[in-house]
Symmetry: C5
Subunit: 270 residues, 5 copies
Amino acid sequence: MKRKSQSVLRAVGRPAATVSRPSLSSLSVAHGKRVRLWRMLYAHGVRNGTLAVLPLDQGLEHGPTDFFPNPTALDTNFQFRLAVEGDYSAIALGIGLAEKYMKEYCGRVPLILKLNGKTNIADDAEAVSPLSAGVEEAVRLGADAVGFTLYVGSPRQDYAARVAEELGADVVKLHEPDEDNARSPEPYRSLREAAPERLRRVVRSAGRVMVLFSGGVKQDNDAAVLRKVAAYMEAGATGVMFGRNMWLRPFDAALALTRQVHRILSRHPR
Amino acid sequence: MKRKSQSVLRAVGRPAATVSRPSLSSLSVAHGKRVRLWRMLYAHGVRNGTLAVLPLDQGLEHGPTDFFPNPTALDTNFQFRLAVEGDYSAIALGIGLAEKYMKEYCGRVPLILKLNGKTNIADDAEAVSPLSAGVEEAVRLGADAVGFTLYVGSPRQDYAARVAEELGADVVKLHEPDEDNARSPEPYRSLREAAPERLRRVVRSAGRVMVLFSGGVKQDNDAAVLRKVAAYMEAGATGVMFGRNMWLRPFDAALALTRQVHRILSRHPR
Amino acid sequence: MKRKSQSVLRAVGRPAATVSRPSLSSLSVAHGKRVRLWRMLYAHGVRNGTLAVLPLDQGLEHGPTDFFPNPTALDTNFQFRLAVEGDYSAIALGIGLAEKYMKEYCGRVPLILKLNGKTNIADDAEAVSPLSAGVEEAVRLGADAVGFTLYVGSPRQDYAARVAEELGADVVKLHEPDEDNARSPEPYRSLREAAPERLRRVVRSAGRVMVLFSGGVKQDNDAAVLRKVAAYMEAGATGVMFGRNMWLRPFDAALALTRQVHRILSRHPR
Amino acid sequence: MKRKSQSVLRAVGRPAATVSRPSLSSLSVAHGKRVRLWRMLYAHGVRNGTLAVLPLDQGLEHGPTDFFPNPTALDTNFQFRLAVEGDYSAIALGIGLAEKYMKEYCGRVPLILKLNGKTNIADDAEAVSPLSAGVEEAVRLGADAVGFTLYVGSPRQDYAARVAEELGADVVKLHEPDEDNARSPEPYRSLREAAPERLRRVVRSAGRVMVLFSGGVKQDNDAAVLRKVAAYMEAGATGVMFGRNMWLRPFDAALALTRQVHRILSRHPR
Amino acid sequence: MKRKSQSVLRAVGRPAATVSRPSLSSLSVAHGKRVRLWRMLYAHGVRNGTLAVLPLDQGLEHGPTDFFPNPTALDTNFQFRLAVEGDYSAIALGIGLAEKYMKEYCGRVPLILKLNGKTNIADDAEAVSPLSAGVEEAVRLGADAVGFTLYVGSPRQDYAARVAEELGADVVKLHEPDEDNARSPEPYRSLREAAPERLRRVVRSAGRVMVLFSGGVKQDNDAAVLRKVAAYMEAGATGVMFGRNMWLRPFDAALALTRQVHRILSRHPR
């Protein structure tokens, strides 16, 4: 009992400037959930406790124009092949794509089944994000996790992180917070943070929830993409969830970039 | 396992300008659903993997004025007789018409039971489309499929196609997209596509979901109707769902036009 | 099989100017429902396949002022006695009145249990019509039918008729359509119909749903009331549902008028 | 059978100016409900088929300011003691007060459990009245009745009475209708009624539903309170439901006034 | 039976100026609930029937900016350690924090599981406070109580207290009412109360519901915090629920202040 108290003491006393990533072994999760998280953290991807997830819900959320730069990516085989050949920790998509395209890839890459989503046609303010599947479908499809999208509706990504923790998430996907303070309310407006501090503040705010950062719109410059990955991992993220920055590249380029991402993740074992 | 990977590779590498229609044999569907899809694709209609569906929900959706040009079509026997004598792949209507008129036609034409619908009286913006039947009623009535109407509310039919795929549809009915780009948002406004390209883009966007195109308002010119059918099939559609263009013609004319549609579909086996 | 097809052929080919009323024997209904419809069509009322229904929901829908012209009608015994002594096909009311007043009349007149209704206090536009009973209560009370009120909200009664058919009603109560075309949308505005044509159009639009016409506000002139009944029956209605035109008359006058209505209905056997 | 018809005939023929109160023995109610109504009508209170009910929901509905004139009434023991020592037919309150204060009074006074209620803070127009208990809680607490509040939202108390009857209430609590016709719609505005006529109209409108009148805001003059009770009973009410006019008086004064109310009720056996 | 009546008499007759706190032994609660309340009142905290509860939901309700003055408090270990080392009666937080951080503290401090909560991003007027857990989760986590937040939306804290009692709460957390009468409606505006009277009025309004007062925004002055605690307890509160005034202090300062709070509570046994 003594040792536990001390470890807590140390945790409380640690300087706020560094963030220690949550490790699976230290989390309080049931056996079944531990098995499924382990599969994504240590049996797929870089296998060192990091996560490289390939998401595909942009067709529903933004519409098919997202695929215009690379029409071959409209065929979901593209993403499944990339996930398998690129050895991703998981692929994240909805029930329609999972049922239609997963057959050849079953077991070769973990599935994160997205439970909800919405089109961008309705006005954002009134948008609802209806459920298209539930945990039962996830079990039937052999998924290792489910994804549920909440709209915290704020540039303050640290708030989204905290909400995820207080509501009980295991992993949360966030965006890199904007550096434009002018439009933010106080006390954010007065913050003078370099990008790394800003990222660390967000990760710290997620507490024991593992943080993934998304890649956002496609950047053509490979080095810029990799700099982002490195920055996120150094800030304490558990991994990345880059979609368009991967599958809007030609297949071989996407595969090559994926391998470079893996190289960065491999420097952050836990 | 080797062959499967290769077929995937080929799929990814195929040129975007041609669209290969999904075939029943290649789809991942449970046995029961395969039986029911097979019945419509290969045991009725042209029996070559195409679909000619006769829809009848205009009385509910638009009101009885739709029947004013051909009052005999107000009697649902007209549509059932046309579906049977014209050898349609299926007839699509709601529970009220199915229960009242199907008796003499049971087994002679597959039924697609429409589960929801709405009148055009309420303002479109706030319209809800309440359920009038469920899967249980469909089973009781011996239906081979159910139809559910979603209002994606957009001239961008490729978006509707993608939504259908991501949410898990097997078949989607779409409209031919409008060529008026001026009212569309970017990047649609800048697209310079001939009609066939536009149709192929929509079909491609549906991925492994079979696409039916609807006929819309009645055209008096038979040749124009047939040109549309040909164009849709050449763009990769699995079939057509023409209602008013069929049953607003006198019975014998509707039957003759149906046979010409079959002739076009017979050139697109799969 | 031959004969059935022919009867269908004849149905399709019949001139639109006459309307043949649906007959119970030709309808596709389950045995239990056939028993209950038969009881109202052939074991009560005129017993020739017509329906004379006495409705009582005006106290809820309009308020007690509806009874001001004949305060004795506020006592539901008035309507039950009139229904029994006047030999109505059924009485139609809600669960409160059925439970409190039906004891002495059980079995002597069929009950149509109204399942929903609303007061006129809330604004019509936002009005909801909550359920006050369900099918289980109807069975417990020995009802032969249930009534559900839909607000199609339109002067176009043919639309309401069609909606009733597409949603699966067995009997629909409609109002005589207004002849004021000026306020109607096209193509109604351009219609030049005499009253009988207008009624026939509405009845035809109901297809195999039996049509009852309501009487609306009280008319003091007996002959005018009877002319309406005759017109409705000649237009193809299965019967009438007159409330205030009956029970706002003194009991003996209501009884006498009821008998004259029966005489008209007796000329329309089926 | 003969006698029943006659009694019905008499009921229909009775002059509208007098109102005969519904008697328990003549009502169609199941055995269990008859037991519970009997307990309030004949085993508690005046025991002659009248009802004297003590309500306590003003703290929730109006807020604690209702108790400012008599702070000792804030302690629910005040009302329970008054109900027991004053021999009320029932006490009516919600689950919170019932659970916390009923222990010493169990069985000594029937409980009417209020199932819903709302604060007066939200705007009345949008107010919802959420459920705080259900029939299961009522059974667990040994209640003899449940109370459900409907907002008919009208000065026309006869409408509320009719709605209660059509929806199936056994007892309805109403307010004495206002004599200010100017703000009422027609035909109410044109009514020229003395107060007794107005009350009788409301009671008649409730049909076989027993009517209780509430006392409203506190009146200091005992005689005025008693005149109201007498007027209500003479108009055909089954009883009264006076809260603030009782428990905002000092305990002994409330008890004395209660006894005078009982004396009036004792003149109206049934 | 005699003694009980007398104790009731005394309760009714007691002067309104003093408030006697509800004692667990006198409350009507089921055995299981009594066990759980006893654990918080007599087996943890000051163990004399008072409650010192440490709340942590500010991250969800206000966002992470609440932690900016003391970033180490962002790690929930801070609050759990404070609750255990400071011997609080209970810690109150939501399911996410309970599941992730409670492991080392299980059994060492009672858990009050918060069932609902909302972010401050949506406009307060339309805010909904969705459920994030239910009683089943509370049982699984070994919680001794659940917390449910109602928005009575009023400066009149006595109303919130009464609502809690009428709806059936066991314990209610309130804020100290504002002394600014100018913005309040009558009769509050005319009240001339010193702070102690104001507090007593609120506590009295809660009846047999135990009252906790919250601490609100952080005050740097320790003596001011303790004066508030003393005032609350003297007004009849059962305890306090101070969050930011505790865990926004450095750990040792928070612990020292907690002990001074305990000293005040120890003077109010029951």
